[in-house]
Amino acid sequence: MFRFFIRRVALTLPTFVALMFVTFVAVRLVPGDPIEARTGERGIAPERLAMLRHELGLDRPVWQQFLDYANGIVHGDFGVSIVTKTPVLSEFATLFPATLELTLCGLAFAIVLGIPAGVIAAVKRGSVFDHTMMTIALTGYSMPIFWWGLLLIMFMSEYLGLTPVSGRMDLINFYFEPVTGFMLVDSLLSDQEGAFSSAVSHLILPAIVLGTVPLAVIARMTRSSMLEVLGEDYVRTARAKGLSPFRVVGLHALRNALIPVVTVIGLQTGTLLGGAVLTETIFAWPGVGKWLIESIARRDYPALQGGIMLITSIVILVNLIVDLTYVAINPRIRHG
């Protein structure tokens, strides 16, 4: 187990190096630089442009800039935002709870609906429920996030008036200092009546939009995994004991069927954080994704590099945790 852990962690190192290089190159491939982005169409005197570039170190050879950046990362320094002049890490830390809250709720939505839907579809395979579920799943998977988000806003917020259009909280009626950064928790801690339901109503649409693709993937994966497991001899043994169908399916079959599903859930963190960028932009959700989009517009190199590095590190970390969970739920690996 310990050796497995060490080997698995060591495998992430080359990924980090590649990641550092790709983010560095990618942000510089976008035409223009931070100075031009800020001056825009007004233009700027060539001497002043040169001076500002010198200040930011943009006039130095690219490989030197990369070494500086890589050296900083190794020492835990993600640089300082060109626009806000605050360290990238602290900006990220401020914004990340909003993204995490959205992502977790999206994932919870996907798991809570996806696994039962997949299980029922597998048990009642070929039924109307099965076909309906799988059609919905395929539609959800194929739906572009931004379009799906806009549709929901138009229907739920504009037409039915059930939910707010954007943001995390009704800031006109409520105000409280962030404690955890999670609006659901903070609104409860604030003891202000209606604050929590405001937080929920703000969160619900973005969470659904973000969770739709993972929901489709989890439901389909659970279904196919379940179908395979339901044909296994040990499921027959469980039924031969006279156990209830709920126990046979929900315990004996599902426990085995979940092994590949957990892996897929881990892989969905990438989709979720990537989707968060779009979702946050549509719903004006003040998280990391929206911040990254704004940083692209400003060509804020350190913010982009650092932000992408941090987000991707989280994806890598989650996948590491998933691999370890996989070991925990599968005794054949644990004792192998």
Binding site: D233, Y234, R236, A238, R239, K241, G242, P245, N330, G336
Partner: protein, 337 residues
Amino acid sequence: MNATSTPLLSIRNLSVTFATGRGPFRAVDKVDLDVAAGELVAIVGESGSGKSVAMLAVMGLLPWTATVTADRLSFDGKDLLALTPRERRKIIGRDLSMIFQEPMSSLNPCFTVGFQLREAMKAHLDLDKTARQKRAVELLDLVGIPEPERRLKAFPHQLSGGMSQRVMIAMALACNPKLIIADEPTTALDVTIQAQILDLLLRLQKDSGVGLVLITHDMGVVAETAQRVCVHYAGQQVEMQDTRGLFRDPHHPYTSALLAALPERASGRILPSIPGVVPGLADRPAGCLFSPRCRFATQTCRTIPPPRAGADLGYALCHTPLVDGHPRALKKLEMPA
């Protein structure tokens, strides 16, 4: 069919039909069986002869594509076909249990042996946690597993095939059943282990007085163990006799050919075999299903399905059941001497 007035398990005209992509497939065709309390009955037949499917139908473990029909399917005085699934689940696993062919894949890899053993007791018996644990240890001890306390904590992949089958047997015994169905319990095991497991099963059967239906394709095992034998061929029951009678005077040509193929019975230098293969779904003969492979087959056999003979001829499904190795037309029997 049986002399016993109230058999534990009583089956009349059991048929099982599977819905397949190429139309319905009848895997079990009008099978009868009676098992008395404490009796050991063997069902023999080649692979695909429907012997497992018939017993899975009794357990109610067939997939949803199967349709089960029977004139009678009763166990312990209860009509199994009339029970609701909930009522049926109270019987299977408690009074009626089953041991399967593949012990390694029949145990759930995600749970410990102890968990799976205690589970059936929890569902059926009124025992508290410590009593269940105690009984689990006793059961493993009973089936000859050393260090039962430690083995209860083991996961199935840590056990050998023979060990797993012992656990399966312990599981089948957990709730003191009245009847155990053992579906080729030794087929998947090493030859050296086969005898051990069979001996264990027979000893437990004798000690506890539980009824046992032993599904096998090993005639040698049948000769040593069973009181009565049913021979299945292509989903049909072709003969049923007392073991001694069957080995002395088989009435169906298929039984006769099976016995002739036993190495210990072969007299010549070449071991006799039955030519051809069991007919598949598409190539069923019009008359007797065994007629293409039968050395006694006549034109009647090939065109008209055979009638069932009486008890004196082992209920043989044959136009011309054998007596002392020679075919005898059924009609003659009915004529006054």
